[in-house]
């Protein structure tokens, strides 16, 4: 028996969501009276996962897995789950986790619940709370199968430190690699991604044109944040589609979301409302975003944002 967790890495380094997933898996393992086994593909220093509660790490290094391959990765996690006799498999809410999860569920004939926000409410029946209706509600859902798959929502559980010593074990299962081949990857390596960012700075139509994005980028750079935009902004081609956040764009679950010149259409809010702290800067006090935000300034973004940049620079130099 065990709780298995798939740990995502980028360039050999574990992502923060992997640390969070291991911490969460440890929480479930404690409930069930068992241990956590992690699966790591092409990651370095895998024993560091012990610091988050893993007792064992199944380690795979394979050049043919350098590019993500959902079928191959799902088959590796499935083989690991069988080998470890896993009762629960923990994934995250990353794009890649959500790509693997349905394939894995069929391979293991397991019930799968995504967007889980807390530890199971009970182990038997196995009941979890997860967000539905774009975070406008939660469902308490029972997973009835012997093997259970949960996808942990980002930033929902947090990283928890443990003093577990993790043993490592080379793992070389039979891999079914399917018939989907990567031709090319187009990935900016020097920018913080919306998925990984703790802070996201987002601009809307209120900024009047693409030439005014300099201050958004500067604000993001001062905060170490990712930049994003509303749907009209990407539809008009002011910013790339990859920056569009909202219901039909990318979801945001950052610690801090700063919306500048965004009115707060319901479709936009649906995509960002699992962010923890929301700040709005808008010259229209009637903008719906003020109802959804935690903090707000009513005023002209062209005056306020430069002031905010200066203030934050001062703050950073004092708190460095």
């Amino acid at each position: 028996m065990s709780v298995l967790v798939y740990t995502e890495s980028d360039g050999g380094k574990f992502k923060k969501i992997a640390q969070e997933a291991v911490s969460y898996a440890k929480g479930i393992a404690d409930m069930l009276g068992t241990n956590v086994t992690a699966v790591a593909i092409n990651a370095e220093n895998v024993s560091e996962l012990g610091a988050f509660g893993a007792s064992k790490v199944l380690e795979l290094s394979n050049d043919s897995l350098k590019n993500f391959n959902a079928e191959a990765y799902a088959s590796i996690v499935a083989e690991a789950a069988k080998k470890e006799n896993a009762q629960v498999v923990v994934l995250t809410s990353s794009i890649n986790s959500k790509f693997i999860a349905p394939l894995l569920a069929v391979k293991l004939d397991a019930g799968y619940v995504p967007n889980v926000v807390s530890l199971p409410e009970s182990a038997s029946p196995f009941k979890v709370k997860h967000s539905v209706f774009s975070n406008k509600a939660f469902s308490h859902t029972e997973i009835k199968t012997d093997t259970k798959i949960v996808g942990l929502a980002k930033n929902a559980f947090g990283v928890k430190e443990h003093n577990t010593t993790a043993t490592t074990e080379a793992f070389s299962p039979e891999i079914s690699s399917g018939n989907v081949e990567v031709v090319s990857v187009d990935k900016a390596t020097d920018k913080i991604t919306i998925a990984d960012a703790e802070i996201v700075v987002s601009g809307g139509r209120g900024l009047k044109g693409p030439e005014n994005w300099g201050m958004i980028e500067e604000l993001a750079s001062v905060l170490g944040a990712a930049t994003a935009c509303s749907k009209p902004v990407s539809d008009m081609g002011w910013r790339p589609h990859s920056e569009h956040v909202g219901q039909t764009g990318k979801p945001v679950a950052s610690n801090l979301y700063i919306a500048i010149g965004i009115s707060g259409a319901i479709q936009h809010l649906a995509g960002i409302n699992s962010s923890k702290v929301k700040v709005v800067i808008n010259n229209d006090p009637e903008a719906p975003f003020f109802k959804a935000a935690d903090y707000g300034i009513v005023g002209d973004a062209f005056e306020i944002v430069p002031q905010l940049i200066e203030k934050l620079k001062e703050f950073k130099s004092q708190n460095a």
Binding site: H241, Y295, V298
Partner: protein, 246 residues
């Protein structure tokens, strides 16, 4: 090429989310239902394959008779035939089993679903259909071309995108990018008239067991009012000392 577009019948984004019967059922009272937005991007791409490459396009949905107007809308947009699997959709896996059965029986080359439905946000149905039918699968698909038996797709990933090549039969989880918002079609009167006489087949469910069961719903606690400040100094202080966000 035979295409099956899976259509989820979902509450419009602006709907009030409420529950009834002791918070065990979604309250459909006064709710307008629409084609799931992610599915609509896929349906519109399917129309392109129909018009440019002569594809046949069928749409399918798992649900009761109340979901038929949504299927008729897909027919009005231009799909050739619709299939409704007559059972209440309970969880993603059970829906996928129904649709996988339809996909197998119909011998479809390409099955298009949405990245996720905007109601239960499961995001699992397309991948499960692929795995159940042995088809290739690409999720968060933002571009798709098909030439004979070969397909080239673009997938969104964290921090970028990648181009993939694969072969039919293929299942995709689609989203905006497959077509743009401005490409979406509003059914015209001719389409609506034609849709009335297009076939809408009702099939009984194959296996209605489910792996997960929603026991109860809950709405988040109401949010406190926004704290308005009138200068950036107060904002930075609040974000640091109160929200602990910087």
């Amino acid at each position: 090429m035979k295409i099956l577009v899976c259509i989820s019948h979902v509450p419009d984004t602006t709907s009030k989310i409420n529950f009834t019967e002791g918070d065990t059922k979604f309250d459909t009272n006064g709710v307008q239902f629409v084609i799931n937005p992610n599915d609509e991007f896929g349906l519109t791409r399917a129309m392109w394959f129909k018009e440019k490459q002569g594809a046949t396009v069928h749409v399918a949905n798992v649900g009761g008779p109340e979901t038929e107007p949504t299927l008729r809308k897909a027919l009005a947009i231009g799909a050739d035939e619709a299939i409704r699997i007559n059972t209440v959709a309970t969880d993603g896996y059970s829906v996928a089993k129904q649709l996988a059965n339809v996909a197998k029986e119909g011998g479809y080359d390409l099955v298009i679903g949405g990245r996720e439905s905007i109601d239960y946000n499961g995001g699992m149905v397309p991948g499960m259909i692929a795995q159940l039918t042995g088809a290739n699968f690409i999720n968060t698909c933002i571009g798709l071309e098909v030439e004979g038996n070969n397909a080239t797709a673009v997938r969104e990933m964290d921090g970028g995108k990648e181009t993939l090549k694969t072969t039919l039969p293929l299942v995709i989880g689609g989203q905006k990018g497959l077509v743009e918002e401005s490409d979406l079609r509003i059914p015209n009167m001719r389409g609506i008239m034609q849709a009335r006489s297009k076939p809408l087949h009702v099939k009984e469910a194959v296996d209605i067991s489910n792996e997960t069961a929603s026991i109860q719903f809950e709405k988040p606690a109401p949010k406190g009012a926004v704290k308005l400040v009138d200068n950036v100094e107060d904002l930075v202080n609040l974000l640091h000392n109160e929200a602990k966000a910087i």
